[in-house]
């Protein structure tokens, strides 16, 4: 037991990250000796994911919201001659997102218990490997390590869509892979450039993001806004980072891979993709792009906010006209992710807190919507809105859960979506007034298309014969649905549980941004007062 205690005390983050991969690794090795029944794999994976969730709960409990900087830090030299180390740590923001990830995995596994029929072992292998990749990307503190997790997690997703996906799965998965990797490869150039700039400024080559006193990290770099070579300037470096993250989010006009990937992906793939993978894009903005290049971020902000707004409105409008439920939810994701970006670029505590909270909310609600759509797809094997109608009569429990998830997604007060959107709009109003006004239309539109879809599926007459005999949710499905509804209500009623741990991280983030860009942070007020002065004259 000493060993376990030692692991928990010193390597909790690694344990959480690698437990899924280790579990399926052991199972695969055992498979090499003797054929294991599928049930062993299923239960093994489920238990491991539950243990992972429990460990994350332990992490949450041990996490000190008042402490500054990164906690539970682990550091092991990896390729020392290049300043590359295995560094893991967590702040409040990463903690929330890791908690979301750890929470979703068992739910998704349980939801897909009977959903996946062929090659179940490989499916579980890839799901668990994906989990490791995502958690690692949240915890990584070394940019090389971050990049390694960020890229390798594409492989399991590639296989999940490609093997278990719909008819156009190969097109969709290759598109997903190429889009995402194109962006990140350019980011790699930026990362290497940063490391060598650190060597030039501080005399040591490192990929460490936060300095380990007395050594400095990449965040201590002085990155010029003008002068010097183009590739050392903030605008280029921010550009390559932002492109990689914008594709992952995905922001308009880089979103076209998302509907394809979602429609073709199997239910658990969609749920994890929308639930967690997209958050890596916005997480990248919070963790890396904003603090590293604050001036360039400010400079590019009008464009990014503009694209976010287009994403909000365009995503909502396109979602409105979709026949395929999955496509509808996919485009609603484009819209909702636009909100999150808007909140981040408001660059004030409300906006950023709201954005991070909304990442969790979107993960829970959209994950829930995909899982619920999957349940009905499993019964009817169609996702066309017209194929349904009046389902509330035959599947009342399902209808109730779906309605809650919908309400959560459109931001009904009392549920999670409201808190996030409210904070984002609050933050945006103080620094980006007109964009906030336009964004509000997205809230209204999302109510329109979601409620319309709910009406078409659940109310009205039961016209299709096939729908009259649909069975309501099984106990397993009810368990899944309840598990998803609990956080929606919890966040909606008592958001402080979730905002408290990240308050410190958000404040420090904004301090870093201000410290690194002293003249631009105060810009909005100055401009506003100048405008007032002009008016007074």
């Amino acid at each position: 037991m000493d060993f376990v205690g030692w692991l928990l005390d010193n390597h909790l983050l690694s344990l959480i990250t690698f437990l899924p991969l280790a579990t399926v690794g052991v199972l695969a090795a055992a498979e090499g000796l003797a054929r294991l029944p599928e049930a062993v794999w299923k239960w093994g994976a489920l238990i491991a994911s539950l243990v992972g969730a429990a460990l994350t709960a332990l992490l949450w409990q041990r996490f000190d919201p008042a402490a500054s900087g990164q906690q539970m830090v682990e550091r092991v030299a990896w390729i020392p001659s290049y300043g590359i180390s295995y560094s893991m740590g967590t702040d409040g923001i990463a903690l929330l997102l890791a908690a979301l990830t750890s929470f979703l995995l068992p739910v998704v596994l349980l939801a897909s218990w009977t959903d996946i029929h062929k090659r179940v072992r490989s499916y579980l292998f890839f799901m668990m490997a994906l989990q490791t990749g995502m958690l690692g990307a949240f915890f990584a503190l070394n940019l090389f390590l971050f990049y390694a997790f960020w890229e390798t997690m594409l492989i399991p997703m590639y296989f999940i869509i490609g093997i278990w996906g719909g008819p156009r799965r190969i097109y969709a998965t290759v598109k997903f892979f190429i889009y995402t990797m194109l962006g990140s490869l350019l980011m790699l150039v930026g990362i290497i450039a940063l490391a060598w700039m650190h060597q030039q400024q501080f005399g040591s080559l490192t990929f460490e993001y936060y300095g380990v006193p007395p050594a400095s990290g990449l965040l201590d770099l002085v990155i010029p806004t003008e002068g010097g070579a183009w590739w050392q300037q903030q605008s280029f470096l921010f550009g390559v980072f932002a492109l990689a993250f914008a594709i992952k989010v995905p922001m308009f006009p880089f979103h076209t891979w998302l509907p394809d990937a979602h429609v073709e992906a199997p239910t658990p793939g969609s749920a994890v993709l929308a639930g967690v993978l997209l958050k890596l894009g916005t997480f990248g903005f919070v963790r890396y792009a904003l603090p590293l290049f604050p001036q360039a971020a400010q400079e590019w902000a009008p464009w990014i906010v503009g694209l976010a707004l287009i994403g909000i409105v365009y995503g909502a409008l396109v979602a409105w006209v979709q026949q395929d439920v999955k496509k509808l939810v996919a485009y609603s994701s484009v819209s909702h992710m636009g909100f999150i970006v808007l909140g981040l670029f408001a660059l004030n505590p409300q906006g950023v807190t709201g954005a991070v909270l909304q990442m969790v909310n979107h993960g829970v609600s959209t994950g829930a919507l995909f899982i619920l759509v999957g349940m009905i797809y499993e019964r009817r094997h169609v996702r066309d809105l017209d194929a349904f109608g009046g389902l509330a009569r035959v599947m009342p429990v399902f209808a109730a859960f779906f309605a809650i998830a919908t309400m959560s997604s459109i931001g009904l007060p009392g549920l999670n979506g409201f808190v996030g959107e409210f904070l984002i709009l609050l933050g945006a109003f103080s620094s980006l007034r007109w964009p906030a006004v336009i964004a509000t239309s997205g809230v209204i539109l999302s109510a329109v298309y979601m409620l319309w879809a709910v009406r078409r599926v659940f109310f009205g007459p039961l016209v299709h014969e096939a729908n009259k005999v649909l069975a309501d949710l099984s106990p397993r499905e009810r368990l899944v649905a309840v598990a998803l509804v609990v956080p929606m209500i919890w966040i909606g009623v008592h958001p402080a549980t979730f905002t408290n741990p990240m308050d410190r991280a958000v404040t420090e983030l904004l301090e870093t941004v201000n410290r690194r860009a002293p003249d631009t942070a105060a810009q909005p007020q100055r401009e506003a007062s100048a405008a007032l002065a002009v008016e007074a004259k």
């Binding site: 001659s81 390694a148 890229e151 594409l154 490609g162 490869l185 290497i192 060598w196 070579a229 590739w231």
Partner: protein, 518 residues
């Protein structure tokens, strides 16, 4: 007074050269009815014996090479160092030997399947390897030419080793004609340089090289063109796809890796030692060559339907990435090239071996579609192939990524040091090219994993030699990718040799070359 020759400086080459002499005799012994070994042998059995013996010779060479790492620099003749066993030479010799061992092991069963199991194969491989080892350590243009020929001529024969196959014959003829032409250019370039500088030795050429003189530049240019043919750099690459497609699959792997490794060794040496005074002019030439090579290689690979042909274009593209390292030069650039070549050897031989395992009944199954559903019929092959593909496209935690990372990093470092943006542009072009390469590497993975198996392709069970090759390539790709720093000590500690790490080795090797340039 007779010069003091250090004969044992070339000790690493000796076992292989000895093998060239012994193997044919051994084969005759085995073939003779009622020979000393008793019963006459089947061709398959004989192949196994010959392969084992050749691997033995190669491994002894490898041991001697590894052993030489820890010793001070040795040259064959200190007064006129035609052969210089410095770090670069040793590192590349080791890489060539590893590639050769893998090729030989992968070949026995394959040759049987394509009905070409003749004993000359092993002799030809070994004599070619001897040439490669000398080529990688040649410090003199004459030596460079001789070893280039010693390397190339056996490979021409190997390319046409499937005597009954028209494609194989075509491949051999094409490779031979173009190869001889390239050798001719190289020889002519050496002659011009000799005329201009009065020496054949690389360091002496450097001291009297005049970057203003047309004669000198002509000589340098012809020398470069000759070597560019061998590394299949655009625009001197057209022979490669035909030659790789027609040659027996394991020979294609041999050509794509070891031949390239040795030729890159010569190129690095020529560029950073002999032609160092012309670095500026050379830099722009190499820049253009690198961009053309990777872009055209990748674009052409995208439209291929044949796995071997696709891998040929992919190897052209990789020559482009490697040229970046050659262009950067110095410790970082050369070290990156060395590491890249080692990792490239594992991933490329792995891929070619998978294709060779599919061959049976005198037929090759080398269309990309022939790999359909491989994961269901032969999961092990599919997994190794995917690892090689992900490594070739540069996925983190594989050897290919570390290689690319080192090359890009060296270019950025150099760009930062001398404030030149052109190198960073080169890196940007290279990463865009990597994105392009996703298209064809992912297609192979997609075909293997996402398509149903084909009825007419019935891959046979890989033999134990092939299994060793596949496992070694798989392990090499992952070990060099995950633990580039510690990869070698693990392996080395097994055979109880001095502790070395690959990255450090590559860096030291590059430093030893830097000392040679004036």
């Amino acid at each position: 007074m007779a010069p003091q020759l250090d004969v044992f400086a070339v000790a690493p080459m000796m076992p292989v050269a000895l093998g060239v002499l012994v193997l044919p005799m051994f084969e005759v012994l085995l073939m003779r009815r009622g020979s000393v070994l008793g019963q006459p042998m089947s061709a398959a059995r004989r192949g196994t014996y010959l392969a084992t013996l050749s691997v033995g010779f190669l491994l002894v060479s490898l041991l001697l090479t590894m052993n030489a790492f820890s010793q001070p620099l040795r040259t064959f003749n200190p007064e006129n160092p035609m052969v210089r066993m410095d770090g670069v030479a040793l590192f590349l010799c080791a890489t060539v030997l590893i590639g050769a061992v893998l090729t030989v092991l992968a070949s026995t069963k394959y040759l049987e399947h394509v009905h070409s199991n003749w004993g000359e194969f092993y002799t030809l491989v070994l004599s070619s390897v001897t040439g490669m080892m000398f080529l990688a350590s040649a410090a003199d243009l004459l030596m460079l030419f001789l070893s280039l020929e010693l390397m190339s001529i056996p490979v021409y024969a190997l390319a046409g080793f499937r005597r009954a196959s028209l494609r194989s014959n075509e491949s051999a003829v094409k490779y031979f004609l173009i190869g001889s032409f390239a050798s001719g250019l190289l020889l002519y370039g050496s002659a011009l340089l000799y005329g201009a500088t009065g020496s054949l030795e690389l360091t002496e050429i450097a001291t009297s090289f005049d970057p203003e003189s047309a004669l000198d530049l002509c000589g340098a240019g012809l020398l470069l063109v000759g070597l560019a043919f061998k590394i299949s750099s655009v625009p001197f690459h057209q022979w490669a796809p035909d030659a790789y497609e027609g040659a027996p699959t394991t020979v294609s792997g041999f050509m794509a890796t070891t031949v390239k490794v040795a030729a890159f060794g010569a190129l690095v040496r020529v560029v950073s030692v002999a032609l160092a005074p012309a670095a500026d002019a050379l830099g722009s030439v190499l820049w253009v060559l690198a961009v053309l090579t990777m872009t055209i290689g990748n674009v052409m690979a995208l439209i291929q339907r044949n796995t071997k042909r696709m891998l040929a274009y992919s190897s052209i593209a990789h020559a482009g990435y490697l040229l970046i390292g050659v262009l950067v030069g110095g410790e970082a650039g050369t070290g990156a090239v060395l590491f890249y070549l080692l990792s490239y050897t594992f991933m490329t031989i792995g891929a070619f071996t998978v294709v060779s395992v599919l061959a049976r009944d005198g037929r090759e199954y080398d269309a990309i579609d022939d790999l359909s559903g491989l994961v269901q019929t032969k999961p092990f092959l599919a997994i190794v192939m995917s690892a090689c593909m992900f490594s070739l496209l540069g996925m983190p935690l594989t050897a290919g990524f570390v290689g690319k990372f080192l090359v890009f990093s060296s270019a950025v470092q150099q760009g930062l040091a001398n404030g030149s943006s052109s190198l960073v542009w080169l890196v940007v072009i290279a990463v865009l090219n990597s994105a392009l390469s996703l298209g064809y590497y992912l297609r192979v993975v997609a075909v293997m994993f996402f398509q149903p198996p084909r009825e007419d392709v019935q891959p046979s069970e890989p033999g134990s030699f092939e299994r060793i090759v596949l496992l070694a390539c798989f392990a090499g790709v992952l070990l060099l990718g995950i633990l580039p720093q510690d990869a070698l000590p693990w392996v080395v500690s097994l055979v109880n040799l001095p502790d070395v790490n690959v990255l450090q080795l590559a860096a030291d090797a590059a430093a030893s070359l830097a000392n040679a340039s004036p």
